[in-house]
């Protein structure tokens, strides 16, 4: 092979193990190089630059395609017996390196488990296998007259399992909640092969909801195989609005007051001046996009209340057009394809912070990015809102100049992470930890990291599930 691997080029599984995997999944095991090349990565932006330079993040030893929880349980028991890593894989759209098989092993592609098992109209719940693609799920729900309301930008290229594994959030989350809010119950395979199931009931008081440890575990504590999710009747009406503000402070205040009124637009997004120019071609203003949907009378009420509040904070009514534009272009992801081949390093970083620190955190992180030599673009928007605070989503782009691409990338990330923690924020709102945030996990979790390690040790004593993630601070040489 004429390429390098940044992490592992495989854990050297012997033929006997491969044969045993084939006996579990006669039709579902591949060791061919082309498959391993495609599965040895996710959508971590720095790895795109590596690809162009002929460097692959990692190679697994094999890719397997289980068809049911029992097969996964058998794979896990085999992994414990022989000590090889197992990395669950949904659609590979994660942006922090979470699915990269850094120690080789077996990629567990969940896509064959993609059925919508049942839809409960009375209880507004759908039971779904987790290998299903997000857009496929949403389209089939729409066809049946419902929506899940989970519409991340990765909708077209991500899976339900991936959403659960990294605690994802969608563009319509302010109304419908994040994936953990949508989850009613789940089935999962634990690292030792035990299959657990919780009950599809609205709430229980039966001790800590231990099954929820799977949420955000990024494949390190188990594999979620099936989930029962809340669904909603497809909205009868959708209203689009846009306002511009003199500055981001006014825009943030307007949204904070909308939240205080207990009004939850499905979509609220504030773009800073740079991003308002970029996305809407409007100079020196900050754009607020609002999308309300649901029952027509409730939507009208939300429109009225939001309009009054936006006016109070000097918002200028821009009509529907900017929101229509956002709806039309929200899945047109071009930047990495356009700028990576030109030598630019791009990424997006999301954090969350309470309202009291929100504005100063936004400003501090923008300054921190700009202070790194080589940074060309440093901008941000707010995209998920709560009565308690907000998620900021930053974009940086630049040129490494006298550093390696990874050194530049790492430096900007570190600047953002440090600034976020200094202002009391959380280092991730919904992309997760993966590889890039590991270094900062201890600073955020503090004593909870100790607890997490105990849980990991109890559930996965042989560290077979997605090893090298969540609690390992060491980094390899990334060149």
């Amino acid at each position: 092979m004429a390429y390098d691997t940044i992490y592992s080029s495989g854990a050297a599984l012997d033929d006997d193990v491969i044969a045993q995997l084939r006996s579990i999944m006669p039709d579902g095991v591949s060791t061919r190089e082309a498959d391993r090349v495609v599965y040895g990565k996710d959508y971590w932006p720095i790895s795109l630059r590596w690809l162009l330079d002929g460097r692959l993040p990692a190679l697994p030893d094999a890719v397997v395609w289980p068809e049911n929880a029992e097969q996964i349980a058998k794979v896990m028991r085999l992994a414990n017996e022989h000590g090889f890593p197992v990395v669950p894989y949904g659609e590979g759209s994660g942006v922090v390196g979470g699915a990269i098989p850094v120690k080789g092993g077996v990629m567990l592609d969940m896509r064959r488990m993609h059925d919508i098992v049942s839809i409960d109209d009375e209880g507004l719940m759908a039971t779904v296998q987790t290998g299903i693609n997000g857009m496929t799920l949403e389209r089939e729900l729409n066809r049946a007259g419902y929506t899940l309301g989970h519409i991340p930008q990765s909708l077209y290229c991500s899976s339900l399992g991936g959403w659960l594994a990294c605690r994802a959030a969608g563009q319509f989350s302010t109304k419908y909640g994040k994936i953990e809010d949508m989850l009613v119950s789940l089935e999962a395979v634990l690292p030792d092969g035990t299959v657990i199931r919780s009950r599809p009931v609205p709430r229980t008081s039966t001790g800590p909801p231990v099954e929820r440890l799977m949420l955000g575990s990024e494949g390190t504590l188990g594999v979620v195989t099936e989930a029962t999710l809340k669904i909603w009747p497809y909205p009868e009406r959708r209203a689009l609005h846009a306002y511009t503000f003199d500055d981001i402070e006014d825009a943030l205040e307007a949204t904070r007051h909308i939240m205080r009124k207990n009004v939850y637009p499905a979509v609220m997004r504030i773009y800073d001046e740079h991003e308002t120019l970029r996305h809407f071609d409007v100079k020196h203003r900050c754009m607020l996009i609002l999308v309300m949907e649901g029952d027509p009378e409730l939507v009208e009420l939300e429109e009225d209340i939001s309009a009054r509040i936006c006016t109070r904070f000097n918002g200028r009514d821009m009509g529907e057009t900017p929101a229509e534009r956002w709806l039309e272009t929200r899945f047109k992801v071009k930047e990495s394809s356009e700028f990576t081949p030109r030598g630019f390093i791009f990424d997006t970083v999301e954090i969350s912070v309470g309202w009291r620190q929100a504005l100063q955190t936004y400003r501090a992180i923008i300054e921190a990015m700009q202070a790194v030599t080589g940074v060309v673009v440093a901008s941000g928007h707010a995209s998920h809102f709560y009565p308690q605070g907000v998620c900021f989503y930053f974009t940086f782009g630049g040129l490494p100049r006298k550093r390696t691409p990874y050194e530049f990338y790492r430096t900007v990330w570190d600047a953002i992470m440090a600034s976020c923690l200094e202002h009391g924020g959380s280092i991730s709102h919904h992309h997760g930890i993966g590889l890039i945030r590991q270094k900062w996990l201890a600073d955020e979790l503090d004593g909870r990291l100790h607890m997490l390690r105990h849980i990991k040790q109890a559930l996965d004593p042989n560290h077979v599930m997605n090893p090298g993630k969540m609690s390992d601070r060491k980094e390899g040489d990334h060149g």
Partner: protein, 394 residues
């Protein structure tokens, strides 16, 4: 330049906070940075497009019928582009991935979702041409190429026009009609009152050669067909097959083979004749689901004409959920039925299941889709056949 400024003006604005030195380097990189990755000059592949697709998060993958059937990310559009990049740059041995580079049904569903307006089929075509140049194509593709070179048609003909006739309209059957669906040709000629010309020795339009990467042979076929059409003296070419239509109308001119005739698909031509009153039809009073052939709906943008024709003859259309430009592939596009018959059959089954949710009677306007569905046991009729039946009731 003005469009560049509009498109990338935000970058200039964002750069206002960067140092002069950074801005200077950024501008230089922006204008020239790509060259280091596009230095290969002897390639048929559009490496810029390959790279853009390989670096995309795979935003079209949910609608890729090949991925849905193969259930392997290596068959996804961006997965194949990634492999194509590594092959084109000599990083991986193409023999390990060659079947994946040919695992595409050219349905263009991906183009509907692509911010660059790419389709995997277009991107892979150049890569395949490079593989052909290295004699690395799959054996099935090599055999098909040899067969076409020897016989000039895909399959043995079941129907042959008696002799050349001079007429303004030349009806071109295409390989699939000539071999597997003579009833479509009979219906078409009957609708034209047997007044159309036909080529006594039709050659394949060359679509399989084009999509599989046999560029030189394709050009030979295109030039032969152009000469045959010119010799026929016709002013209008009507095809039963959407892919033939697309080849003659769009692809021949793109390689410098211009045709001195107007090219239409049969449904476009017959729709015009109905609109002008030249074709009188009765009513059938049946119902069906209409399957949009990918090339007709997406490449030729023809979705209304067949539906209007069907409604005109009293056929009640029960629409499939995925219809029009959101149609699903029959599985046989891009010669997938030749290179990957099992995969093609799986895609066919997916589409039949989807169509049957709407109606058990499938009507389409593509002989290749017709063959795919019929081979899987479905009840399929061509729009032309129904029109002929309606003509008899007029």
């Amino acid at each position: 330049m003005a469009s560049m400024r509009k498109k990338y003006g935000w970058v200039l604005d964002a750069m206002s906070n960067a140092s002069m030195a950074t801005r200077a380097v950024a501008l230089k990189q922006f204008l020239r940075g790509k060259k280091q990755y596009l230095s290969k000059t002897d390639s048929h592949a559009d490496l810029d497009a390959v790279i853009k697709c390989a670096l995309c998060p795979n935003m079209c993958k949910f609608d890729c019928p090949v991925l849905a059937a193969a259930q392997n990310d290596a068959t996804s559009p961006s997965g194949k582009a990634r492999l194509a990049y590594l092959i084109e740059t000599g990083r991986i041995d193409s023999s390990d991935a060659v079947d994946l580079i040919y695992a595409c049904c050219n349905c263009d569903a991906c183009r509907e979702w692509c911010p660059f307006d790419f389709s995997a089929g277009d991107i892979l075509r150049g890569v395949r041409a490079d593989l052909v140049g290295q004699k690395q194509m799959p054996p099935e593709a090599a055999e098909l190429h040899q067969h076409l070179q020897e016989h000039h048609v895909l399959h043995d003909r079941a129907i042959r026009p008696d002799a050349a006739r001079q007429a303004d309209v030349l009806y071109y059957m295409g390989c699939e009609v000539a071999s597997a669906h003579p009833e479509i040709a009979k219906a078409m000629t009957a609708l034209l009152d047997d007044s159309c010309a036909m080529l006594p020795e039709e050659w394949c339009c060359g679509a399989p050669l084009y999509s599989l990467g046999f560029d030189d042979t394709f050009e030979e076929f295109a030039r032969h067909n152009a000469a045959a059409l010119e010799e026929s003296g016709c002013s209008q070419l009507v095809c039963s097959c959407p892919t033939c239509t697309y080849m003659y109308r769009e692809i021949y001119p793109s390689i410098g083979v211009d045709l001195p005739v107007e090219v239409q698909h049969s449904t476009e031509y017959l729709h015009e004749r109905v609109e002008t009153g030249a074709l009188q039809l009765g009513s059938l009073g049946t119902s069906c689901v209409y399957h949009d052939p990918c090339t007709l709906a997406r490449s030729l943008d023809v979705t209304d004409a067949p539906r209007e024709l069907l409604r005109h003859i009293g056929v009640d259309i029960t629409e499939a959920y995925y219809a029009g430009k959101n149609t699903g592939c029959c599985g046989r596009g891009g010669s997938l039925g030749t290179t990957h018959p099992d995969l093609a059959a799986a895609i066919t089954r997916q589409r039949i299941d989807e169509l049957h949710r709407a109606n058990q009677t499938i009507v389409t306007a593509c002989p290749t889709c017709n063959t795919a569905f019929t081979s899987a046991g479905a009840d399929v009729t061509d729009v032309t056949e129904l029109l002929r039946e309606a003509r008899e009731r007029a």
